[in-house]
Symmetry: C2
């Protein structure tokens, strides 16, 4: 029988539709991706075209084999502008803030055809360190309320440029969704004297069935009330409210786990379109005891339809426990070592 | 300059990205839709195949030219089952309810190639009356907490069968999203002694710029903080918490407006994929003074990307005022009368 499951952290309900359950491997679309060239002359993110982008904010410099490892610059078509003071206006039911905000693009590699899933861990760590550097800078700006870090991979994930990149948007307001989740976490803390995420992570580590990977500092798991197939959270095992609290050693560990997780999707589900995003405490709440940051990896294998839009509930046709088992079995390390051996 | 706007009813923030604004007419995809046959022998919803569906719950009977006008039956691949008692379980952080629920399919016409946008108003009214009959029945079931009525049109809107149909799902729980919106509306009522939707509708009717259509009983408008291009709400002008409160005269008026709104999308935006859904008070809250039901029409012209998933905020690249002006100008009545004249 199907089951409605409640997300412990958000209180959101999900229909786990086991009656029409699909095996995890059925979710691989195996669609044709056109092979990409490593360099595309018309791509504004390819090396040599640096003048086509706005001036750089940050760069991971060149090494022997590449002109640069990564570049950060303002989005040329930014949704928001950093050159204004946020000003609130209230006219009866119409409330607005002018378009203050920061919208960065992080080009992850000079190679147009590269993907995070296949990069060396050390390169992924460089990108995460860029996230943190910019996250820390933006969080200190008193005009900023929330910093959202995200990546769109593939058309169904909303990307418009195929060259590997991620983005970061700082807004002068916090969303109602973030606010409500904070309230829920705060109520739990006041009720039990502990972080609800820490409790949930401990229980999941005991239970094991939804765990995909565990390392010294992080754990990757399917949610008990997962809203979509292979929706995966990576949590720090130590309590941390903000992504800005990650230590250098933890960052290398996170890079290994993120790369490995993306490689499991790449090899196990035929390079699906996906988003990932970092959910961290709003700037004013860094250091709180009741919230726990995490990274969400969201493969875009299904469509949101009218029920989800109308009710705010989701229907998931893959059991989270089956998804976790499937992902555990995708052996990315031997693929990786095999490929490395083959090129030796 | 871009602007962040706050939805008065939900408090959700939307980035109205006027810096990269697109003209409304640019949003018409004009993609090739393969022409559909009026009858498809393998379609379980086509006439003659009635035995391929579960037994009917309801039918709008035959008239001279058709075997039946509409049929309602349980979804063959229902996410939930009506034959159980909802039972809650709580094991530490894992909370669930067994899969009680009702999942109906409403086949809207025997004609496989028909669309609501081009049907006679009286046929659309029949479908809305079916919604209400089933909505009323399901709302009385003490096991039901929330009834969601919705339609998926096209692949991007999540449909899997092309024969025109809508669906209705009754769940034993209310979503956190519906709960929070109710709380917000209740707080407004306690603060001002009035329905926040009634206030907003009155203001929008004065302001005019976001109104698409007004009739005796209903108003169709773009939201001030619209999360996506052409996202349109149809509100009853009289205060009503529940869709079940609609009178017979109002239902005919609603059918005309819904059909006309869908025709504006069909002709103005080249038959886009869309969802619509009815947001009504949860079953236990029928008759409250602080909530106002409405019908959302949601064209699926853009993709939700990482920013939206990570922040809970949306970026809309079409000004709601421009979308409203565009939709006002799509003259569906002369197209309709012209077509009628041409076939005379």
């Amino acid at each position: 029988m199907s089951e409605l499951r409640q997300n412990f952290a958000t209180k959101e309900w999900v229909v786990i539709a086991t009656e029409r359950a699909r095996r995890p491997e059925e979710m691989a679309h195996h669609r044709e991706r056109k092979p990409l060239a490593s360099f595309v002359a018309s791509c504004p993110f390819c090396p040599g075209n640096e003048k086509l982008t706005p001036p750089e904010v940050l760069r991971v410099p060149a090494s022997l084999d590449v002109p640069w490892h990564a570049r950060v610059f303002p989005n040329k078509f930014a949704a928001l502008s950093r050159d204004v003071q946020p000003t609130r206006s209230v006219h009866r039911s119409r409330r607005a803030v002018n378009g203050f905000g920061v919208h960065d693009v992080i080009v992850e590699t000079p190679d147009h055809a590269q993907v995070l899933a296949l990069m060396p861990d050390s390169y992924v760590a460089e990108i995460l360190r860029i996230y943190k550097t910019r996250y820390d800078e933006l969080s200190l700006d008193p005009r900023v309320a929330l910093v959202t870090i995200f990546k769109n991979h593939g058309i169904d994930a909303g990307t418009s440029l195929e060259h590997p990149h991620s983005q970061m948007i700082a807004t002068p307001v916090t969303s109602v969704q973030v606010r409500e989740r904070f309230q829920t976490a705060l109520r739990h803390f006041d009720d039990y004297g502990e972080c609800m995420f820490c409790q949930m992570i401990e229980e999941e580590l005991e239970e094991q069935t939804r765990i995909v990977m565990v390392s010294e500092h992080f754990v990757a798991m399917e949610l008990y009330a997962s809203p979509a197939p292979f929706f995966t959270h990576i949590y720090p095992r130590r309590h941390m409210a903000s992504f800005g609290d990650v230590s250098a050693a933890e960052m290398n560990d996170l890079a290994r786990m993120l790369r490995s997780m993306l490689a499991k999707l790449y090899h196990g589900l035929a390079d699906p379109d996906f988003n990932f995003t970092i959910r961290s405490a709003p700037a004013e709440s860094v250091g709180v005891k009741y919230f726990h940051w995490y990274l969400s990896v969201i493969p875009r294998l299904t469509r949101v339809a009218g029920f989800e839009l109308g009710s705010g509930m989701f229907i998931n046709t893959v059991l989270p426990e089956a998804a976790a088992e499937f992902l555990r079995k995708v052996d990315v390390e031997s693929v990786r070592n095999g490929a490395a051996a083959a090129t030796r």
